[in-house]
């Protein structure tokens, strides 16, 4: 598979020489912690609604960075990756913030109604 073949073969060689993937373990633990914090806050009604929302959103944003840096090899190309990387990343951020932001906006009618 001439040119294209190099990809899977490289991955395989990579797998053989791999060290223990501490990065992933740390990332996994961090994402668990960042999920448990908002869950506990919501379950036990520790703080009022508005700060609660901000706290949950802060955890979610931190979660994004955990994903990008510890799982998704965000820094592995050292800025020399193909141009569409930045395009897809921009779209990803746009959609993530859009879905969350617009959902909050759409669902605030409850406050007005009640």
């Amino acid at each position: 598979m001439a040119e294209h073949a190099s990809q899977p073969v490289n991955q395989q060689e990579h797998a053989h020489e791999a060290r223990f993937p501490w990065q992933y373990v740390i990332g996994f633990v961090l994402s668990l912690i960042l999920t448990i914090i908002p869950l506990e806050l919501v379950l036990h009604h520790v703080i009022p609604l508005s700060p609660l929302t901000w706290a949950a959103l802060a955890c979610a944003v931190l979660q994004i960075f955990v994903q990008l840096f510890l799982f998704m090899h965000f820094t592995s190309t050292g800025g020399s990756g193909p141009a569409y990387h930045s395009v897809t990343l921009t779209i990803g951020f746009l959609f993530a913030f859009l879905f969350v932001g617009a959902s909050i906006w759409i669902m605030t009618f409850n406050n007005i109604a009640s």
Partner: protein, 659 residues
């Protein structure tokens, strides 16, 4: 009959439902025995396993997707005919309310997730790697997992009909109706788990094809050289990757509500059912673009080929596809304007929805300009494409009417809406899939389909379509709402409903003609020896039909668009696309694996376990899935090389080898 059997038959086999279900039980049993007997008698089990179940070849996976999609089109179509029969006249007693609810739920769910989705994936698999000069998709093993997850999820949803009861809360499955309190029993669980399982497969397919298109194009093929079908797949993949997670979350939370007693979407204890509606449509609206964009891609290919012209306004076509895939994400509230989010919210989403009409209009005009002064050949793919344009124009115009938020308070959930979305989903997606099926059929199977029965199918289906759905616009204005199972006489609804039912039957007849056409084609087997029966323009037509399993003996060198056309016109040397003996190297290919199938069977078992709350099955399934993933993680023998001699021999037989 022992008491335990009686109880089992009543609770799970639903024998108390009467002869309809009992008859289905018997038919399914007979059909299963028939299939098992035939496979055993002709000793085809080994063939089925080796050639199909373990395959990771995108061409075979595409064929399996298409067969499954046509079977599901039949199932969803039967549902539709049953509903139309019930509504043909006022006060009918053909179906009772509960059966009617179950049937419209499964009709919608099956048509969107188990007919339209596999049909587009069939065309992804059949066409994309061949169009960009790749030997397979980026992750062939994952591709097989995607297919089998879809297939077993479809099976899971379909067995609900005879085992425990179908879901009946609508294909949108809004809480609180779909919560445990109002929908007890396994039906709703079937819906949630089947969608969840097939959703995993769909996300994987989205990632797979995005990587394939971005990373595996032939030498010299820039993004702006790609055929428009490939562009449309890329746009659909963007939509899949960002939309499906929202569905996953919505379904998972609703399942937690039902199985573990949480309160995400309940009416009490802090739950909010409207959040489900919001999440569902964050997925649901992009979903309709997921199924329409590949159809747009098919139309672009078909119109260019059968007009013998390059597509008009290629760049604007690409721009329109990408614009739809981005703006398509900010329109979802138009499905629930009446929920009352306020004027600001409704205005924003109404305007965003209307904006979508602009890139879509650009595409329609580009298709028309491509045909203008072209040498048009009226083949079956072209007929479905030309039928699509007026149909989609009407559907689009009524869509803009629905997008007007204040007016939507009048149309919402009326038959006007039903007519609108059938017009765009049938007139757009289904026509597109049929066009694509006819167009790539020779490439998939190596033989041509006879025209005559196909034309009968086309006319019955098309005329039937308008007869069925145009009266429904009127019914909507007359106040008929969706999901009602019967209506009194004297409202003026009788005549339009009766006409509509006649149209639905005509569409059914069209489908039968299409099946007959395929059967006739299989019997006649008029082989396509050229590999290019339509005088095509793109790379897939430079290959023999069907393509050898490694696709390209040497990866072609591409410069510009429509390279195969350029080669046929003598503008490019033939040697840029065809292999030369000295350039043939051993070909690196993925090995077949039975694990995707086994993994998906464990998912199926887990699904059944969760549907009925059977913990042992869930444990078995969980361990099975974990074991499959574990084995894959430590598997290094995943690929092999086809030796040069074998490639040279195959290519010589095909007469493709250049000196």
């Amino acid at each position: 009959m022992p008491a335990w059997f009686h109880q089992f038959a009543d609770k799970y086999l639903m024998w108390q439902e009467g002869p309809l279900i009992m008859g289905s039980d018997v038919l399914i049993l007979l059909a299963s025995i028939g299939i098992i007997f035939t496979l055993t008698y002709f000793k085809k089990w080994g063939w089925l396993w080796r050639e199909w179940i373990v395959t990771v070849d995108h061409k075979k996976i595409g064929i399996m997707y298409m067969i499954a999609a046509i079977l599901m089109l039949f199932r969803g179509g039967v549902d539709a005919e049953l509903m139309r029969t019930q509504l043909a006249l006022p006060n009918m007693h053909f179906l009772n309310a509960e059966h009617y609810d179950e049937i419209f739920t499964t009709h919608g769910t099956i048509m969107i997730l188990f007919m339209a989705m596999p049909f587009i994936f069939a065309l992804f698999n059949v066409a994309v790697p061949l169009q960009i000069g790749a030997r397979d998709v980026a992750f062939p093993y994952v591709n097989a997992i995607s297919f089998w997850l879809f297939f077993l999820a479809a099976l899971l949803l379909n067995i609900s009909f005879v085992l425990g009861g179908s879901p009946n809360a609508g294909w949108t499955s809004y809480p609180p109706l779909s919560e445990l309190g109002f929908s007890p029993g396994p039906g709703e669980n079937y819906y949630l788990l089947a969608l969840q399982i097939t959703g995993i497969g769909s996300i994987a397919t989205g990632i797979n094809f995005m990587v394939t298109i971005l990373r595996m194009r032939a030498k010299g093929m820039r993004l702006m050289d790609m055929p428009l079908f490939t562009w449309s797949v890329l746009a659909a993949c963007v939509l899949i990757i960002f939309a499906f997670p929202a569905l996953t979350v919505a379904l998972a939370l609703l399942l937690l509500d039902r199985v573990l007693g949480t309160h995400f979407f309940t009416m009490l204890h802090g739950g909010n059912p409207m959040m489900f509606i919001n999440l569902f449509w964050i997925w649901g609206h992009p979903e309709v673009y997921i199924v329409i964009l590949p159809a747009f891609g098919v139309f672009s290919e078909v119109i260019a080929t059968f007009s013998k012209k390059p597509i008009f306004g290629y760049k604007s076509m690409v721009f329109a596809l990408m614009a739809i895939s981005i703006v398509g994400f900010v329109t979802w509230v138009h499905h629930f304007f009446t929920m009352g989010s306020g004027a600001d919210v409704n205005t924003f989403f109404a305007i965003a929805t209307m904006i979508i009409a602009i890139p879509t209009g650009v595409k329609v005009f580009n298709w028309l300009f491509t045909m203008y002064r072209g040498r048009i050949r009226m083949t079956l793919p072209m007929m479905w494409t030309i039928a699509f344009i007026p149909c989609f124009a009407i559907g689009g115009a009524t869509g803009v009417m629905l997008a007007v938020a204040p007016a939507d308070y009048q149309y919402h959930n009326s038959y006007f809406l039903i007519a609108h979305f059938h017009q765009v989903l049938i007139g757009g997606t289904v026509f597109g899939m049929f066009a694509g099926m006819y167009y790539w059929w020779p490439k998939m199977f190596g033989f041509m389909l006879p025209d005559k029965l196909g034309k009968w199918a086309f006319w019955f289906f098309n005329i039937g379509f308008y007869v069925c759905f145009l009266p429904q616009y009127a019914l909507g204005f007359m106040g008929m709402t969706r999901r009602i199972y019967t209506y009194p006489s004297g409202l003026g609804w009788t005549v339009p409903n009766f006409i509509s039912t006649i149209g639905a039957y005509a569409m059914g007849v069209g489908f039968i003609f299409m099946v007959a056409q395929i059967v006739q084609g299989i019997i006649e087997r008029k082989l396509d020896v050229t590999g290019d029966p339509w005088d095509g323009r793109t790379l897939e037509w430079s290959l023999p039909s069907p393509a050898p399993h490694y696709n390209f003996a040497t990866i072609p060198t591409v410069s510009g668009r429509d390279v195969w056309w350029a080669v046929k016109q003598g503008e490019l040397p033939k040697s840029s696309l065809f292999p030369a003996k000295k350039d043939v190297k051993p070909i690196h290919m993925p090995k077949s694996s039975g694990r995707p199938f086994i993994l998906s069977v464990f998912f199926f078992i887990g699904g059944v376990g969760l549907v009925f709350g059977l913990l042992p099955l869930d444990i078995i399934a969980g361990l099975g899935v974990a074991f499959c993933l574990f084995r894959r993680s430590f598997e290094y023998d995943t690929d092999y090389y086809i030796p040069v001699d074998e490639v040279v021999e195959t290519e010589t037989t095909l007469g493709r080898l250049q000196a």
